[in-house]
Amino acid sequence: MTAQNRDDAPRTATRRPGAVRRFLATPRFFLIVLIIALVVVIGALKPSFFNGPFVIAPLLTSISIFTVVGLSQLVVMSVGHMNLAIGPMAAFGAMFAGMSFQLFGLPLWAGVVVGLLAGAAVGALSGWIIARTGVNSFIVTLAMSFALIGLVPTVYSWLTTGSAFTVKPDGLDVIGRASFATLCLGNVCGTNAIPIIVVPTIVTMAILGYLFTRTRIGRELLMTGSNVQAAELSGIPTSRRIILVHTLSGVLAALAGFLLAASTGSFTPGIGGEFMLQSFVGPILGGTLLAGGYVSITGTLLGITLTLLIRKGLDLFGVGIETLNILLGVILLIALSADRFRLIRTRRTRAAAAVAPPDDTGGDPHPTGPGADKKEEVSA
């Protein structure tokens, strides 16, 4: 489930190096190898790792939640933007969901809809400001996160006594905490190692995969990401696409916030506090380009899985959380440097084969600030 939009796509198509060989060269393949190796190592050293309900199920729960977080970043990355406000947007959406349960007594589905709409609203607001003013998405979403970080706790302190919405409508616990063991067809029940919460995540991945690979809008988003001017000239309403991705990002952030609240059982202002780093790590490890134009949805799942697996492993070995942070930073740097070196090598071999210089979406000659890449190449 990956989608790309590069100038050299037809060329690779004519050469046809074989789907398998191409897959072996992707970051996804390395991630799968790493994940399997880690599972084997952790499982061999700590057999308790394979404990279904107490280790695997919580791990899958957090993978489900953080994959949605990563996807929320992925959709804005597809047009070369970023959203620093994912955490606060998640808190904002979850706040509205919790509010509608507690204050208005809405049923589960209605509360979820309200929460997602709230996320869509703030996302659309960021997108609108970016598209309207042309200000860098980094700064707009940073300011947005300031504003929401200020707003959310204030609203909680107005409306609640303990700074949390705790009323649970029917079905909230099923989404957040139940496993497939509660679902039975006749006498055959599901396993208790897989929580129900994976379902919304899989559905989200499927929808986004469909959007980016099969629909016109998805292609337009990727085209906007790889070259705004070209997209604009080919008649794509880039401003509307930018607003669309930020809205979508808001919706996904709100969904992640809701899922997190469902899994912990209460809606608090602290939701989303650790979303920012993970939201970037997942897609980037999975091969999604920060500069836009290429996304990998399964890669995001794998990237998130790898980081959370490492975290769980460290947990099992009783290593502190600070080591996880150090490792995450180092992994991010190594993964990206490796990517750079691979890119430089392929560029050299291509130059040797006297092919026109490829559209290098990842590498700017002068590493500049966010969003400042690529354009350099276009204008230079």
Binding site: I129, R132, T133, G134, V135, N136, F138, I139, V140, L142, A143, M144, S145, F146, A147, L148, I149, G150, L151, V152, P153, T154, S157, V228, Q229, E232, L277, I284, L290, A291, G320, I321, E322, T323, L324, N325, I326, L327, L328, G329, V330, L332, L333, L336, S337, R340, G363, D364, P365, H366, P367, T368, G369, P370, G371, A372, K375, E376, S379, A380
Partner: protein, 356 residues
């Protein structure tokens, strides 16, 4: 054109200055004069030093078109590192202070080298080093707080005042003056601005963009180190939360102060004034006993308003630049609709962007 830009820059500083004066007056009146008594003046300036320093630290990276997400992490790590070597290893306090500054500079240098060597986007590099440093900071101090009684001489310095204003505020002012001089009158400073304004042109003119990036990150880290030292002197102790809330305010000050995000311009005075405004908002919050989260909300709204307004001005400037026969480098991209176009024109047309 240049005159117009100069007056624009000055008018921005003027309006920021007016906001500061009005804010101070309003606070003074609403607190019934309590805002002007020596104790609250001292508090005000004591806790203004760090916002100024980190705002300037961010401004330096913005000047070359980079950004530094690790501002808070560098400062937090440097202060905790110094605290640990003073408290646990018995290193003299003054050596600890120097260590804090050096650690900051080294971390910044590492950022710069990583950006240049790996060619990864500066955003991701500093995001990664931020994570690493946060981990190291927590690893160093864990959950304990190292009290400032471990470094009495520094704590003394934090309380000392000169002309009724805390010494550590004077330190921040001195840093600002030095920085202003560097950007205005030294070759290195001008090179940074050249690289930020137009990397291609700078390269053609013989400026090493790589060097500019490394220098900017190292200087940014150095300022974070100084902020760490100031934190040690002014707070009652250091723990793992030091630096946690620096990131957002480090961007707020330069952006409100009128620094272009695309590089090529600095506004030292504007950054200092903007940091003062944010500090005033915080004081007002304390005065009216509102929740601390209000400050974030107000600052976020102000930043959004500032960037939107600044963008409108840039578009207008770009239009003004293209209607008369275009001079020099801005000729190539008059119809550029993308976010960067207008800013680039402005940045190239403003090699003298250093003010203050």
């Amino acid at each position: 054109m240049k005159r117009w830009l100069n007056s624009f820059v000055h008018s921005q500083n003027l309006s920021l200055g007016i906001i500061v004066v009005v804010g101070v007056a309003l606070l003074g009146v609403s607190s019934g004069g309590g805002f002007f008594d020596p104790i609250s003046v001292t508090t005000f300036f004591t806790f203004l030093a760090v916002p100024i320093l980190i705002g300037l630290a961010q401004m330096i990276t913005l000047s070359v078109g980079q950004l530094n997400l690790a501002v808070g992490a560098i400062g937090g790590f440097a202060s905790c590192f110094a605290g640990v070597i003073v408290a646990d290893l018995g290193v003299p306090a003054w050596l600890g202070a120097i260590a804090a500054v050096l650690v900051g500079a080294l971390a910044g240098l590492a950022n710069g080298l990583l950006v240049v060597i790996t060619r990864i986007n500066g955003f991701i590099v500093t995001l990664a080093t931020m994570t690493i440093l946060l981990g190291l900071q927590y690893g160093l101090v864990g959950t304990r707080t190292i009290s400032n009684s471990e470094w009495p001489s520094l704590a003394e310095l934090g309380k000392a005042s000169l002309l009724g204003i805390p010494v550590i505020f004077w330190i921040a002012v001195a840093v600002a003056i030095v920085l202003s001089f560097c950007f205005g009158h030294t070759v290195t400073g001008r090179r940074l601005l050249a690289s930020g304004g137009n990397p291609v042109a700078a390269q053609l003119a013989g400026v090493s963009n790589d060097r500019s990036v490394v220098v900017a990150h190292a200087a940014s880290g150095l300022l974070c180190g100084i902020a760490a030292f100031v934190t040690m002197a002014s707070l009652s102790g250091v723990n793992q939360s030091v630096g946690g809330d620096w990131l957002l305010s480090s961007f707020a000050a330069p952006i409100i102060g009128g620094v272009s995000l695309t590089g090529g311009s600095v506004a030292v005075l504007g950054t200092v004034l903007a940091a003062t405004i944010v500090r005033l908002v915080d004081s007002a919050r304390a005065e009216f006993q509102l929740a601390p989260s209000w400050v974030n909300f107000v600052v976020g709204a102000v930043v959004l308003g500032t960037v939107a307004l600044g963008r409108v001005r840039e578009v207008r400037a770009a239009r003004a630049a293209t209607t008369p026969p275009p001079g020099g480098t801005s000729a190539g991209e008059p119809t550029e609709p993308a976010p960067l176009g207008g800013a680039r024109i402005l940045a190239t047309a403003r090699p003298g962007g250093a003010d203050a």
